[in-house]
Amino acid sequence: MKKNSLVTLLLFTAVFSALSIIYFGVVPLFQQERHPVVIAVSKSPLSTPFYVAKAINAFDDTCVAPEYIAVAGGQLAFEKVMSGQADFATSSDSVIAFESLKARPFVTHAMFVQSDNDVKIITRKADNIRAFIDLKGKRIGVTKGTASEYILSTLLAIEGLSLGDIVLQDYPPEHLIEAFRHNEVDAILPWEPFAFQTLQSLKSKIKIHDTKSLSTLSFNLVSQTAEQHLVEQAVCVIQGLQKAIHYITSYPEQAKSIVITELAISTDFIDWVWPDYIFKLSLNQSLILNINAQANWAVANQMTSVNVTSSAINFIDSRALLKVDPGAVNISR
């Protein structure tokens, strides 16, 4: 072997060994410590970014090692946070609006999905309810303190009706379909996947009213009022969500498969709801206006015992999202 070839081989071996040592030996030393966090995740396709994040190991490079608690709806998720059973939760803007009235110590870190058709009004075909005005005097099942109640009150108001003009019955979201099936109520306002499950089980017997564009809803990452330590964890959670949302945007079909597996739902269902969803991280003035509007509406319509509203800005903490994606924050105080 020529001398030059030997030198080259030795040099190559030395460089390769050095790189291997750096990669396998030194790099792990610099990997940040991962804190276990508990996230109460609403069992809904709206929580897709969380399912995808876990499936693609998006949190692996962050400072958190999340554990999910599956709950039926954002309100229950919120309660998990407030009771200290979870560090973070996924809750809709309506839940935030209702909870803001109670002046509980919580903050919203980021909105990660929006839909303009998640909550639906379902009636029986036999009742021949064509317009919302026909709901007058009917028994309507909702989950109080959620988007379900807020959207119903809005739709009634458009027709000059109030919640007093109907018989409002409160059910946990997973019980709405049973109440409807057992004729306890004439109409229900479930969110997905309960609306789809109702359609699947009762098929031609029901009518789903077109409320698209009138029932906008967003899902948000909330926690108790955040100390610096919690903000740092929120940063890591949002980093994972950001990777997941990039993945959903780039590979929607794979993302759908992940949700189908995670929620044990059908392809038909995911195809039913997917077009209504927009997955993106943001924290903007519209969310604040929305929360304020809903809170004011709840007070004005006596949907709560509280009379005084507090500005939604008090329940927004933009520090974490500003660290991850400053361009996604558009809030003026």
Binding site: A157, I158, L214, H246, T249, N296
Partner: protein, 424 residues
């Protein structure tokens, strides 16, 4: 693969053109990419501005008034819809925002239509204000989305500019490195090959016929080298080198010199050689006092021999005398034919006694060795004059003159005898 120099140059030019094309293409591509990014930025800015206009309209107008004219609203919405249809190409992330904007706009339209259809005749002011707020909120959402799109696009623009500048600089650097390498390679081939040819010519001039050995292979220089090498082979076979020529000339010159100093008949030194030697010895005498003696011999009755036995025999007699004399003198003595039948022996560092002894040996030897002609012995005798060179002599010729005088004296005194020149 061996390439000719011409092919090297063509390859170099083609590479330069290719790199130029790649560079120009990358610049054009960069301009296009940056243009697209700027177009996106403009689009996001327009969407934001337009959503603000719509928001201001909703805020300022009493949309529930019976006589409210919605033409302006429809015009603004139409413009906004048109703007949304003229979307530039967007990335996946940007498309999500765009989809959100479109979706929010549909919500705005639907909500506005619900409001406008019956002016919410049955609704109270609370719901009217609430729905108006919902409209504003939706428009605010569009505005926020537009701002977010603007931020993403701007970040993207910076990233694109940075990436494209890096790309162009990388291609430029790579092109320059390769072109400089190519240029150096060409120059090296030229200079090395030219130096090797020049070296071969230089060696050739010195008579060292060496072939050109090229370090860098190129068709053109190889053809020159081959032609040169063939020429060298022929030259080395047919040309005498300067060194051998000098040797020959030296040998010939030596021979000629020898001939010019030798008597052709007797093959002993001639008169010219004698005088060169004599002058040298005389100079030595004058410089260091080293004396020499001179013997002048003359063949007695030589004319009679010629007349009686012929000139050829006379020549033989002379050769015989030379033979005898050469036999009897020392190795340092110088023997020459002075002229006709006269000979001179120059004896360096010899006094008269030594010269007399030498002369006597010659006489004795000659007496013993006769020459036979047709069975008859012929005796030859010599009349000898001896003189020792001294300071009184002005030149070598004076010494000869004295020796000659002594020799004549020997002739006068009966021939076949020795006479010595004495100082007077």
């Amino acid at each position: 693969m061996k390439l000719s120099l011409q092919q090297h140059i063509y390859f170099f030019i083609l590479s330069s053109c290719l790199f130029f094309v790649v560079l120009v293409s990358s610049i054009l591509w960069s301009i296009h990419v940056v243009d697209v990014a700027i177009e996106r930025e403009r689009y996001a800015h327009k969407v934001e501005n337009h959503s603000n206009v719509l928001k201001q309209f909703i805020r300022s107008e009493n949309i529930y008034a019976k006589d409210h004219n919605i033409d302006q609203w429809l015009l603004l919405e139409a413009k906004f819809n048109e703007l949304l249809t003229r979307t530039p190409s967007l990335s996946a992330e940007q498309k999500t925002i765009q989809y959100s904007i479109e979706s929010q706009n549909k919500n705005v339209l639907k909500l506005f239509n619900v409001i406008h259809e019956n002016k919410l005749k049955k609704a109270d002011d609370r719901i009217k204000q609430h729905l108006k707020l919902r409209l504003i909120m939706q428009l605010e959402a569009i505005s926020s989305d537009a701002k977010q799109l603007f931020n993403i696009v701007q970040k993207d623009l910076h990233r694109v500019i940075k990436r494209q500048v890096t790309l162009v600089l990388s291609i430029l650097s790579l092109s320059l490195i390769i072109l400089i390498f190519g240029a150096f390679k060409l120059v090296k081939i030229f200079s090395t090959s030219l130096n090797e040819v020049k070296l071969a010519f230089t060696k050739n001039r010195c008579g060292n016929y060496q072939n050109i050995k090229l370090s860098n292979k190129s068709e053109e220089f190889e053809s020159i080298a081959n032609a040169f090498n063939e020429m060298n082979t022929e030259l080395s076979a047919t040309t005498v080198s300067l060194e051998s020529m000098r040797k020959i000339v030296a040998e010939r010159t030596e021979v000629l010199e020898q001939l010019s100093k030798t008597d052709p008949l007797t093959k002993v030194a001639n008169r010219r050689a004698l005088f060169e030697k004599g002058h040298d010895e005389f100079t030595r005498l004058q410089r260091s006092g080293s004396s020499f003696s001179l013997i002048l011999l003359d063949c007695d009755l030589f004319k009679d021999i010629n007349d009686k036995y012929g000139h050829l025999f006379g020549d033989e007699v002379l050769q015989h005398i030379c033979f005898v004399c050469n036999e009897e003198i020392r190795s340092i003595d110088f023997f020459a034919r002075y002229g006709g039948e006269e000979f001179i022996i120059l004896l360096p560092e010899s006094e008269l006694s030594g010269a007399i002894a030498t002369a006597e040996r010659i006489q004795s030897s000659l007496a013993k060795q006769t020459i036979t002609l047709e069975g008859v012995d012929v005796y030859v005798t010599l009349s000898i004059g001896i003189c020792q060179a001294e300071k009184r002599h002005g030149c070598f010729e004076d010494v000869i003159k004295d020796a000659d005088a002594a020799m004549y004296k020997a002739k006068e005194n009966g021939r076949n005898r020795i006479e010595v020149c004495h100082n007077e």
